[in-house]
C-alpha cells in the first residue's frame, strides 16, 4: 500500500525548544488517522510541517512523495487543510470565501462546496464572523474539500464544537471520505472524540511519537494482566509492559502482547483504546523525565528493555 504521508527524523525547533523531534512515520493512503496527544505535544507543528506552513528544522516530510516546502504547487492542490479554530475572514461572507478559493486554486469544485453548505443550511450571504462555531467549521471544511484533495489535514477540528456540531462535522467528513476515498488526518487531545471514525492512530507525547499503528491491531494486541504480586520478569521478557501498578498483593500490567500468554496466574482482560493511549502518554512522560540520565529510547522501547530501569520502577506505584 502506498503512503500518503511519510516523515524521516522530522524535527522542528522554536528557538531552543523542540516542538517535534525524531519523528519517523508513514501514514498509509486511504486511512483515517487520529493524531492524538496532550496540548503542546507537537500535533499542530506536525500538521503545519505536512502542509508546508512550517519548514523542518531537521529531517524531512513528504506528501505523496513530494516535499511540501520545495514543491508546494504539487503538494498544495492535493491537500485540504483546516487549521485549528478553522480560521476564516470574519468580514467575508461565505460566498466571498468561495470566490477566494476559486481564485486561489486551479482545482476547485464550487458546486460541491455549495451543495455541502446547503446540506447544512449555511447561509451563503452571511458574514463568516456571524456564523456559529459549528457553521464556521463546516465552511472551513467545505473550503478544504472543494479542492477535492487526496489528503485532508484537520487540526483539532472538533475542539470548539458542541456535541451535535461534532457529529455533523464528522458526518460531513466521513461522507467525503467514502465518496473520494481520501486519506484523513484528524488531531485531537482526546481519543474518544475520534475513536469511531479513525482506523489508524498516532500518539504524540512530549514532541515525540509514542505509538503508531492500526487501531484494531493496537486494541487487539494490548491486554490488561491482573495477577498476584510476584516477579513479572517472565512476562516482561516476552511482552512489552507499557504500564504497571502494584498493591501489596496484586500486580496490574498493561502489556503489548507478542503471541500468547500461557501463565495461568494472569487474568487477561481487554483494554479500551483510551486506556492504551493514556498509558503510552504516561510512559513517554516517564522516559522524558529520566532522559537527563542518558540516551532516550525510541518510541517503541519499553521501559523494561532496560534492567536497571526495571528495578527502579518496580517499587514505585505508577498511577495515571
Amino acid at each position: 500500500m502506498s503512503n500518503a504521508l511519510e516523515t524521516a527524523q522530522l524535527g522542528r525547533r522554536y528557538g531552543r525548544v523542540w516542538a517535534l523531534q525524531d519523528c519517523t512515520l508513514a501514514l498509509p493512503a486511504g486511512r483515517i488517522v487520529a493524531l492524538v496527544g496532550p496540548n503542546g505535544a507537537g500535533k499542530t507543528t506536525f500538521l503545519h510541517l505536512a502542509v508546508g506552513l512550517l519548514r523542518p528544522t531537521a529531517g524531512s516530510v513528504s506528501v505523496f512523495g513530494h516535499s511540501p516546502q520545495r514543491e508546494p504547487l504539487t503538494v498544495l492542490p492535493r491537500v485540504g487543510f483546516v487549521a485549528q479554530d478553522h480560521p476564516l475572514y470574519k468580514e467575508f461572507t461565505v460566498n466571498d470565501h468561495l470566490t477566494l478559493g476559486r481564485k486561489l486554486n486551479r482545482r476547485w469544485d464550487e458546486a460541491y462546496a455549495v451543495s455541502r453548505l446547503n446540506q447544512f443550511g449555511i447561509p451563503l450571504t452571511r458574514a463568516a464572523g456571524k456564523l456559529s462555531g459549528g457553521q464556521q467549521a463546516q465552511v472551513a471544511l467545505a473550503l478544504g474539500m472543494a479542492k477535492r484533495p487526496e489528503l485532508a489535514l484537520l487540526d483539532e477540528p472538533l475542539a470548539s464544537l458542541d456535541p451535535l456540531a461534532r457529529r455533523d462535522f464528522l458526518r460531513a467528513l466521513m461522507d467525503v471520505a467514502v465518496a473520494d476515498g481520501l486519506t484523513v488526518v484528524l488531531s485531537s487531545h482526546l481519543i474518544t472524540d475520534l475513536e469511531r471514525v479513525c482506523d489508524y492512530l498516532v500518539v504524540l507525547s512530549h514532541s515525540r511519537v509514542a505509538l503508531i499503528g492500526d487501531i484494531e491491531e493496537i486494541v487487539r494486541t494490548h491486554k490488561r494482566l491482573v495477577g498476584p504480586r510476584t516477579d513479572h520478569t517472565a512476562v516482561a521478557a516476552v511482552h512489552n509492559v507499557i504500564e504497571e501498578s502494584h498493591t501489596a498483593r496484586q500486580t496490574t500490567l498493561l502489556v503489548r502482547v507478542n503471541g500468547h500468554i500461557f501463565d495461568p496466574a494472569w487474568e487477561i482482560a481487554d483494554v479500551t483504546l483510551e486506556d492504551i493511549v493514556l498509558a503510552y502518554m504516561g510512559q513517554a512522560r516517564a522516559s522524558v523525565s529520566e532522559a537527563s540520565g542518558g540516551g532516550m529510547g525510541g518510541p517503541w522501547r519499553s521501559p523494561l528493555d532496560d534492567e536497571k530501569h526495571d528495578e527502579e520502577r518496580d517499587e514505585s506505584e505508577v498511577t495515571r
Partner: protein
C-alpha cells in the same frame, strides 16, 4: 433494509458488531436472499463511523458467502443463515427458561447468572479467533 447501531462501550471491534448485526438479521429473517443491505455511505452517514470499518465488515461477510457486492448497484444478500429451525429455537428457549428458573431457585441473582453464563459460554466456545490468551 436494516439499520445498524454501535455499542462503543463494548470491547467488540465496530466492524465485528456490524458483521454480527447482519448475521443476526439473517438469522431472524429480517434480511432475505436478494435484499439490499445499506450502502457504505449510508452506514457511515448514519453511524458516523470510519468507512473502512463498514467495508471491512462487508468484505468479511462476502468472504463468508453471505453478501455479494454488485459494483454500481450495491451489496446484496446472497444467502440467509438458517442454523436451526424456528422449532428448535423454541425448544432451546424452553430449556434455557427452565435452567434460569432453577438458577434463581438456587439463590443466584441476575449478575451471578450472567457471570456464570458468560464464563461457561467462553469456556466452551470453540477457539477460532486469533486469540491472545
Amino acid at each position: 433494509m436494516i439499520k445498524f447501531y454501535l455499542d462503543t462501550g463494548s470491547g467488540t471491534p465496530p466492524y465485528l458488531q456490524i458483521v454480527q448485526q447482519v448475521k443476526q438479521a439473517l438469522r431472524l429473517g429480517m434480511l432475505e436472499k436478494g435484499d439490499q443491505v445499506p450502502t457504505v455511505r449510508e452506514v457511515v452517514a448514519q453511524l458516523v463511523i470510519n468507512p473502512n470499518t463498514v467495508l471491512k465488515a462487508y468484505r468479511e461477510l462476502e468472504r463468508e458467502g453471505l453478501l455479494v457486492s454488485r459494483p454500481g448497484l450495491g451489496t446484496f444478500v446472497l444467502k440467509t443463515l438458517e442454523t436451526s429451525s424456528p422449532a428448535s429455537h423454541a425448544a432451546l428457549r424452553r430449556s434455557l427458561g427452565r435452567w434460569l428458573q432453577s438458577a434463581r431457585e438456587a439463590g443466584l441473582d441476575e449478575e451471578s447468572i450472567l457471570a456464570l453464563f458468560t464464563t461457561t459460554f467462553h469456556g466452551t466456545q470453540p477457539r477460532e479467533s486469533e486469540g491472545t490468551a
